[in-house]
């Protein structure tokens, strides 16, 4: 394991779907260097992918002239990821998805992204900027913890 605390890595993505995979790969590499177990790296990859997809689609509205910033900061006990876009962010969280309502056509089958982010990381915070200059989602995954779902499953 390479000492990583205090270091940060930054990636800028074009606002084009598919490029979230670049952020996933980068986050996975940093998490691996920090010594995260493989199952937590998979959780992180999915959470980072969903945060980037939201930033590309909703924050930057697929405008390829705008980029999505991904900043990974390693600390002694975990990894913080900020995904920054040019949107105005969300005023309130969407309701928790309900699979029965989705299957019966009472709820849009989409809309799982934010739920997955919250379920897979230890902290998730959405910070909005009404001027559209730097809304971001901040994710934290800790070295010594299982995901909330894994804890409930045990």
């Amino acid at each position: 394991m390479i000492p990583t605390a205090g270091t940060s890595v930054e990636v800028r993505l074009p606002s084009r779907l598919g490029f979230e995979k670049v952020a996933m790969g980068t986050a996975a590499s940093v998490a691996q260097l920090m010594g995260f177990p493989p199952d937590r790296i998979e959780d992180l990859k999915t959470a980072v992918a969903e945060a980037c997809i939201n930033a590309i689609e909703h924050g930057n509205r697929l405008n390829e002239k705008l980029s999505v910033g991904v900043i990974l900061s390693a600390t002694a006990d975990g990894l913080e990821v900020k995904v920054v876009d040019n949107g105005t962010g969300m005023e309130k969280q969407p309701p928790k998805p309900d699979i029965d309502r989705k299957i019966h056509g009472e709820e849009d089958p989409r809309g799982m992204g934010m739920f997955l982010i919250q379920a897979l990381v230890d902290e998730a915070e959405w910070v909005h900027d009404s001027k559209g200059k730097g809304s971001y989602v901040r994710l934290v995954i800790r070295l010594d913890k299982d995901s909330e779902f894994d804890k409930e499953s045990k």
């Binding site: 598919g18 199952d39 999915t46 699979i99 809309g111 799982m112």
Partner: protein, 116 residues
């Protein structure tokens, strides 16, 4: 950047020996997979369906929405669906979002086919 989704349609037998359609996916399952997934679903007719994720590398929330759309169609017509070949991570994700309530998740094809 996104690997094209390919879906092939195959056939196997369920527990009673009755025919079971198998949709075998490969590549990514994302927003660009709609025609491949839903087109393949439309091409299979009556009876239970197995979803093979063995060769799938990446699934995002837009891909999950397409899988839910297939399960909506299955629910309307009373068809049983089972899935296999998911990584442990995606088994967890499918359980989290509730897909496991409408499609049994199994380790491999024989176990999944035996459930139908």
């Amino acid at each position: 950047m996104q690997a094209e989704t390919k879906t092939t349609v195959d056939q196997t037998s369920g527990a009673s020996g009755a025919p079971v359609s198998v949709l075998r996916f490969s590549g990514d399952i994302s927003s660009t997979s709609k025609d491949s997934l839903l087109g393949a679903w439309q091409s299979v007719h009556d009876g239970p369906v197995l979803l093979d994720f063995t060769k799938v590398d990446y699934i995002n929330s837009s891909g999950i929405a397409l899988i839910i759309q297939m399960l909506m169609e299955a629910d309307k017509t009373g068809r049983k669906v089972a899935a296999f070949g998911l990584t442990p991570h995606f088994q967890k994700v499918f359980t989290m979002v509730g897909i496991a309530k409408y499609a049994g998740l199994y380790k491999d094809e024989p176990t999944a086919a035996a459930s139908l």
